[in-house]
């Protein structure tokens, strides 16, 4: 084995496992690599992105203020299309949020050790995406000041929500998803906050990191409960993440509308959510790893694995598109068949074919190893997937609504300036939160990465020859 391995994407699992961390994989080296970007002056690129994010956040503030002042009439909603960009954006953001928990929980249960390099940032992405998502149902109720009616709270009208409505399930599912994601993320952060506490030079930083580290002292008696709690959180989050997008899809599937009323929606939505979330992970991690010099921790192999999941879930989504059409024809319901033919060839054909090209055709490039290991191709493809998945929600929502049962009420949906500005503004919130995260919190789970290095194994002997163990301590 070569002394310094710079590419871990070419290992045959039969011959030996590729190392997850390249270059300096000493414990101190990992701490240093992750913590340094927070201690060095912020790179210009990060400042620029933060500035753009702040401007967009301002746009969001203005858009929401005007919305609250004027009402949902400022959006392009019309009579048959009563659910427009607000629900599209909501589903788009919640979907993105799914990858974080998938990486942190499901890959954890499957003992996919490579998750440790990207789970922290992906979980942060989840939380910020859920925040962006929650804005939309929060404001599309129209009278924002009575949004608390969504919750089962005693009120002066002695009125209670209807627990048989999927919209109420959704309120519970998304808010609980957000809460559990924050708990999971914070639990993972505690040991790393302690690392930052012990590294910090500034008094204020030491105090703040120390406060949030809760006095963590790496005690093994603590680690024991901690690891058990983390495993259980992963076990709880796994069905939770699958349930959330299932329930989001119930918002549509439980209705009677052709185009929405299909049983394939829950698995199809979950696959789409994972698909879009992993694309967003690539969109974020490719610039972050080069900006912060983390290529040896977030390696080509991590990107390649992500691309493989995108290929899998993208193909699942493509299968779901095909199956919807098959059932629309096979089911023999005239309204259902019409809704689907109209999707493909009707006034929104442009949106439909954008969706298919981005979601079904683009990921097929990942059958090729060259594409899976080239950061530029990965980045561009991930952007296409993000666009495609937004269009998927647009197609589902708007094309199903715009042709009502009565042809006299047919209409075409045109977004207004405020539709666009609110959506762009939500990216501002996301970017600002993500930049702050990168600046003040360890973007890679330091303790977890250390635990998957060869030296972390208590039965590891640096100089022993180990036949089935593809790594070697080599140069250090």
């Amino acid at each position: 084995m070569a002394v310094t391995i710079t590419d871990n994407s070419n290992f045959d699992p039969v011959d030996g496992r590729a190392p997850l961390i390249l270059g300096d994989d000493s414990f101190a080296g990992i701490t240093q690599a992750v913590a340094r970007p927070m201690e060095d002056p912020a790179p210009t690129a990060l400042k620029v992105v933060f500035g753009i994010g702040l401007m967009l956040l301002g746009l969001l503030g203005v858009s929401l203020a005007y919305l609250i002042y004027k009402g949902t009439g400022i959006w392009g909603l019309n009579n048959p299309v009563g659910w427009g960009w607000a629900i599209v954006n909501f589903v788009f953001w919640v979907g993105i949020g799914h990858a974080g928990t998938l990486i942190s929980a499901i890959l954890f249960l499957f003992r996919q050790k490579w998750r440790t390099s990207i789970n922290r940032a992906a979980e942060a992405m989840t939380i910020f995406a859920v925040m962006c998502a929650l804005i939309f149902p929060g404001v599309h109720v129209g009278r924002v000041w009575v949004a608390y009616w969504l919750l089962p709270l005693p009120n002066q009208m002695a009125m209670w929500p209807n627990f048989r409505s999927p919209l109420l399930w959704d309120v519970f599912a998304v808010s609980i998803y957000g809460t559990v994601s924050i708990l999971f993320w914070y639990t993972g952060l505690i040991p790393d906050l302690a690392t930052m506490r012990d590294r910090s030079k500034g008094a204020l930083a030491k105090k703040l990191y120390g406060l949030f580290a809760l006095g963590w002292r790496g005690s093994n008696r603590h680690w024991q409960n901690y690891e058990r709690a983390y495993l259980i959180l992963a076990g709880l989050s796994t069905p939770l993440v699958l349930s959330v997008h299932t329930i989001v899809s119930f918002d549509f599937a439980v209705s009677q509308l052709p185009g929405w009323h299909t049983t394939i929606f829950p698995p199809y939505f979950v696959a789409g959510a994972i698909f879009s979330g992993f694309a967003m992970v690539l969109t974020l991690m490719i610039p972050v790893r080069s900006l912060f010099n983390l290529q040896h921790i977030i390696t080509t192999r991590h990107l390649e694995n992500t691309a493989k999941i995108i290929l899998l879930t993208g193909s699942l989504v493509g299968y779901a598109y095909a199956m919807e059409f098959f059932i629309a024809w096979y089911g023999g319901n005239a309204y259902e068949s019409y809704a689907f033919v109209n999707r493909m060839f009707g006034p929104y054909a442009w949106a439909y074919w954008t969706m298919v090209s981005c979601n079904v055709i683009t990921p097929q490039i990942f059958w090729f190893k060259k594409a899976r290991t080239n950061v530029y191709i990965l980045f561009v493809a991930s952007i296409f997937v993000n666009i495609g998945m937004w269009f998927e929600r647009f197609v589902i929502t708007v094309t199903s609504l715009h042709r009502d049962f009565l042809p006299s009420s047919w209409d075409y949906f045109h977004p207004t300036f405020w539709d666009v500005s609110t959506f762009l503004g939500s990216f501002g919130l996301f970017l600002v939160m993500f930049c702050l995260f990168l600046r003040f919190l360890p973007a890679v789970a330091i303790a977890e990465v250390k635990a998957v290095t060869p030296a972390a194994d208590p039965h590891h002997h640096p100089h022993a020859e180990n036949g089935d163990d593809g790594h070697d301590e080599g140069g250090h």
Binding site: F27, P161, V180, L183, W223, L233, E448
Partner: protein
């Protein structure tokens, strides 16, 4: 006894701390602990720890969540605000399953995190070990064993000697 809180021994690698823990365990110490930058695989066994109680807390909390969700939905839909929708029964159990599941997960997750913190007696922002400057590296790349002076087998001179013999790269006494 002494004015010391206990003794702290430093180790540099995971195998060292693993074998040292086995020996401390075999000596019959009870008030002692290992401190590591990451969870070292199998160290619970090397320390002779019994199973974590976190799963029981989660089970109780999760079932409480299920019960609360059932009660809430039943009370709202049957007692307080009965609404007949599509001629469905007032207590429509299948429709209540999603929220029963969600609340079980929520309560279970709270149980896991806060139960874990409670069992670990965290937050505890001050601890005698934080006096040691070397101990700052416990969150970076060093491994420690601490034995408290309150342990019946603790004897300042002998315990320090014992820790040295375990192969510790540095042993110090921590003030109480």
């Amino acid at each position: 006894m002494s004015a010391h809180w206990g003794a702290l021994a430093e180790f540099t690698t995971a195998p060292e701390i693993f074998h040292a823990c086995e020996k401390v365990r075999d000596q019959g110490f009870t008030k002692w602990d290992a401190h590591t930058p990451f969870p070292v695989h199998g160290l619970d066994g090397a320390m002779g720890l019994s199973m974590s109680k976190v799963p029981w807390i989660v089970l109780v909390c999760g079932l409480t969540g299920t019960a609360c969700a059932t009660l809430l939905q039943w009370w709202v839909s049957v007692v307080e605000y009965p609404l007949v929708i599509s001629a469905k029964p007032l207590f429509s159990l299948p429709a209540f399953v999603p929220i029963m599941f969600e609340l079980s997960v929520l309560f279970g997750a709270f149980g896991a995190v806060f139960g874990m913190l409670a069992l670990n007696k965290l937050p505890m922002l001050y601890h005698p070990l934080f006096q040691s400057e070397r101990f700052e590296r416990v969150t970076d790349d060093r491994f420690f064993i601490s034995i408290e002076a309150g342990d019946p087998r603790f004897d300042t001179a002998k315990t320090v000697q014992f820790l040295r013999e375990l192969g510790a790269s540095h042993v110090e006494l921590i003030d109480g």
